[in-house]
């Protein structure tokens, strides 16, 4: 039950994009089409889950053990960058169709602040190993949800008459604001 709450809270109530503003760059950049947005979401979820596992192990087994907490940021970002590279090579080897679907999004993920944010939050919230994994999957699911909804709205928006100066990033931000308001409605669903 506790684990379900962690998952649900990361995915919906404290959605990474809409309440922590993490991963805004891809959220604005890759939300033109539902199909690519969904693929981006899946790729991010995949990397987030692995990141949650690896950074937890590194932090607790190496950094805390040897009193090297000050290397937290440096080691996390290095791990994430190499992880993304590794995942890219791995997917390319095992499945060509999957690589074609996700491939171009993977390099972008390194600079997606949601990934580093996830690693930092897991340390900050003092999650156990299992809790951390659930948090990572939840955060990824939340990112996928937000970016797919946004893409759905933007596909409709193509036929709407948006004032010219507001086309592109500005209208996307305004819609994100309204989405953030809507997502606040979920906050009553977990209590404590």
């Amino acid at each position: 039950m506790e684990l379900f709450i962690i998952f649900f809270s990361a995915a919906v109530v404290n959605n990474f994009v809409l309440t922590y503003f993490l991963g805004i760059c891809p959220f604005i950049g890759v939300s033109n089409k539902i199909s690519s947005a969904f693929s981006m979401g899946l790729a991010t979820t995949f990397v987030m889950t692995i990141t949650a596992i690896v950074t937890w192990l590194i932090y607790h087994l190496i950094l805390v053990e040897f009193h090297l907490e000050f290397l937290e940021y440096v080691s996390f970002i290095l791990v994430i960058a190499s992880l993304v590279q590794f995942v890219e090579m791995f997917i390319k080897k095992i499945s060509q169709p999957l690589y074609r679907a996700l491939g171009i999004f993977l390099p972008l993920i390194t600079t997606n602040c949601a990934i580093l944010g996830l690693a930092l939050f897991i340390v900050l919230k003092d999650y156990s190993f299992i809790e951390g994994i659930f948090y990572g999957v939840g955060a990824g699911a939340g990112f996928t949800l937000a970016i797919t909804i946004m893409a759905g709205i933007r596909e409709e928006l193509d036929i709407a008459d948006v004032p010219k100066p507001f086309q592109g990033a500005p209208i996307t931000l305004i819609i994100a604001g309204i989405l953030a308001l809507a997502f606040m409605g979920f906050s009553g669903m977990i209590s404590g």
Partner: protein, 218 residues
């Protein structure tokens, strides 16, 4: 461009023409997250500028020694080092500020502005020029964060830099300090700045036509 742009140009371009937030739409995460108040915005921008300037300097100094294949990894390492320094110094000297910016200080590492400037500028230019460029981009970032933070603080809390500016009967709009308010304000500001730019261009164009007609008439 035949010759290199002047140094002052290198600085000014970051303020408006190439403003990282309004024009390049980079580094939006920290922009939205910390601009609950003007002072938070300023602190975030200063921390980011510090990292940007020193990373640019170092990257530019060692730009010829780093093999291209590992340049991104090297840049990230350098950036992360300076971010950790900023984080530790802030925790030690300005605990209050460090608390209110919370986990967004470490996220400077993945602020696309910084990595973007290393890749686009510092890796190709002299150290001095890179520092000027970094200062310009930092100032543009500061400007954007200050404007956004002030607006949200004025409407959301009725104060600016902690001083009350709105009359007592003013009921603060809570939405402005909520996440939704951040998105809405930045969206509107970006739209308005686009509007201003297109409007200005239109006027310039009309002026040229007028001038041309005048010359033709005489």
């Amino acid at each position: 461009m035949s010759s290199k742009p002047s140094l002052s140009n290198e600085f000014v371009k970051g303020l408006w023409e190439n403003n990282p937030i309004f024009k390049q739409v980079l580094g939006t995460c920290p922009t939205l997250a910390v601009t609950v108040s003007a002072i938070n915005g300023i602190a975030m921008a200063l921390a980011t500028t510090f990292v940007l300037v020193f990373s640019s300097l170092i990257v530019s100094l060692v730009r010829k020694l780093i093999p291209t294949q590992v340049r991104i990894a090297s840049y990230i390492l350098i950036i992360a080092t300076f971010v950790t320094i900023v984080d530790l110094v802030m925790k030690a000297q300005f605990p209050e500020l460090s608390k209110s910016l919370g986990p967004y200080i470490p996220l400077i590492v993945v602020n696309c502005i910084i990595l973007g400037r290393q890749e686009a500028f510092a890796s190709k230019n002299s150290p001095f020029r890179s520092v000027i460029d970094a200062l310009g981009m930092g100032s543009g970032f500061l400007l954007a964060l200050f404007v956004l933070g002030s607006l949200r603080e004025i409407f959301g809390s009725g104060t600016i830099l902690g001083l009350q500016v709105m009359p007592n009967f003013y009921e603060p709009w809570l939405i402005m300090i909520l996440p939704a308010g951040a998105f809405l304000t930045l969206g509107l500001l970006m739209g308005l700045s686009n509007f201003y730019v297109t409007h200005k261009k239109k006027i310039e164009k009309e002026n040229i036509i007028q001038e041309y007609l005048k010359i033709k008439a005489t």
